[in-house]
């Protein structure tokens, strides 16, 4: 019995403390170092934050360079697929274009009317836009985020909205000197206050970790309303980070409350980092 225990202790000690010929550090010292790093990375202490930003800068840039050949292959494949589907896409786009032309006429009137009404209540929305390139869009099963090539030196701040075209895709959650990280709407931790149209119901769009979102914190009998017509989800502007009316996605009727995001997060290349100043004109 005692021999068995001794064997275990010897094997355990040998595994953790003994260094092999080519190992410069023992396992135990590196495990302790990892634990210290985890604790330090959680402390909001300025020198540690600077070290963290430095590490992020180096690794993001290196990762961008290492990923270049793979991205080149990915883009080539995409161009080839698009080329093969050119005629079919042309037919679909043509019919969509006709519909949009009709909608634009109606929208122009609504825009003017909206401007008039905002003037009446003395409300003003200013926005600052920074154009940024997506450096890394490595998605993990646990976190959906992208790295952008703009940071504090370009006046990027935490919480700014990420817009692809006119669609909301996420918000800034980490800012370094020359780059930043944006959390995508599809991430489990993403919660955006929104409004459902045409029902005019307030809700929160929450990410699921998959390529769709779900509706949360809303009225109980919402399913009935959503099953009648296709629903568009816009930002509600509650919380003050985003302006109201940025399109997020669409809920198709009978789709069990799944929000299909308008933007394809796997194809993000250039995006706008936007901040909004919402308030009185004066």
């Amino acid at each position: 019995m005692a021999t068995g225990r001794d064997d275990f202790v010897i094997a355990f000690r040998s595994a953790f403390l003994k260094k092999k010929d080519k190992q410069k550090f023992s396992l135990l010292s590196l495990i302790l170092l990892s634990i210290i790093v985890i604790i330090l990375s959680n402390i909001n202490f300025k020198p540690i934050q600077f070290v963290k930003i430095g590490i992020n800068e180096i690794i993001y840039r290196s990762s961008y360079i290492v990923s270049k050949p793979e991205n080149y292959l990915k883009n080539t494949l995409l161009v080839f697929t698009e080329h093969m589907n050119l005629y079919e896409n042309y037919k679909i786009t043509k019919s969509e274009f006709e519909n949009l032309k009709e909608e634009k006429i109606v929208n122009n009137f609504l825009k003017i009317e909206n401007k008039k009404l905002r003037n009446l209540i003395n409300e003003n929305i200013d926005s600052n836009e920074i154009l940024a390139k997506v450096l890394i869009d490595r998605e993990s099963p646990f976190l959906k985020s992208v790295i952008l090539n703009k940071g504090t030196k370009d006046n990027v701040k935490m919480g700014m909205a990420i817009i692809d075209g006119v669609y909301l895709v996420g918000q800034i959650i980490e800012v370094n000197y020359t780059n930043s990280r944006a959390l995508l709407l599809s991430d489990l931790n993403s919660k955006i206050p929104s409004v459902l149209a045409p029902q005019n119901i307030q809700a929160v769009v929450s990410g699921t970790g998959k390529n769709y979102g779900i509706i949360e914190h809303t009225k109980e009998d919402i399913e009935e309303d959503l099953n009648k017509v296709d629903t568009i989800v816009y930002t509600s502007g509650l919380g003050g980070l985003f302006k109201p009316g940025i399109p997020i996605g669409k809920i198709y009727k009978d789709s069990e409350n799944k929000v299909d995001f308008f933007s394809d997060f796997t194809q993000l290349n250039f995006i706008k980092i936007t901040s909004f100043n919402i308030g009185d004109k004066n």
Binding site: F12, L27, I38, I55, V66, E139, N189
Partner: protein, 172 residues
Amino acid sequence: MSSLNESTFFRVLLSYLPLIILFVSVFNEFDFNYLNIENFSFNFVYILIFYWTLRNPDSLGYFSIFLAGIINDVVLGIPIGISSLSYLILCAVTAYVRNITLSPNFVKDWFSFLFTMVLINSIQVIILDLIFIIEINYLRYLVNTGFTFLFYPLFFLAFNFLSQLILQKKND
């Protein structure tokens, strides 16, 4: 002379190949951990570290593994140090298994890999969910662990082939 130089270069490159694969897989955007297929993903880095630290421990240094973990955390955006800790626990288990085993047995290794993955994923979930309050999908962790376990034999064969090639070139 030229052929001798080429052979030396190839031999050195081959001996560093596991390390190169490790760093490319943590740096690169392409990730077996996220293949964009519903309910399918596996952790290639776990398999790589488990195999090489168990069968050929001189190929991957512990400090390189620690560094790879830091890089993985920064690229993924999770708190720094978590992957390093996971990878090093994996190394600790392989070192222990190596010390208590006289003749290597594939099935025993395979099941100790499953045990280790369950252990390190539990530690990861505890750190992320309970300490850092980052919401995570438990089912994905479970599926990921299952597929990583199932894919181990496949990569075991591939890495065995590579390991033999390295050994062969070393003895040339």
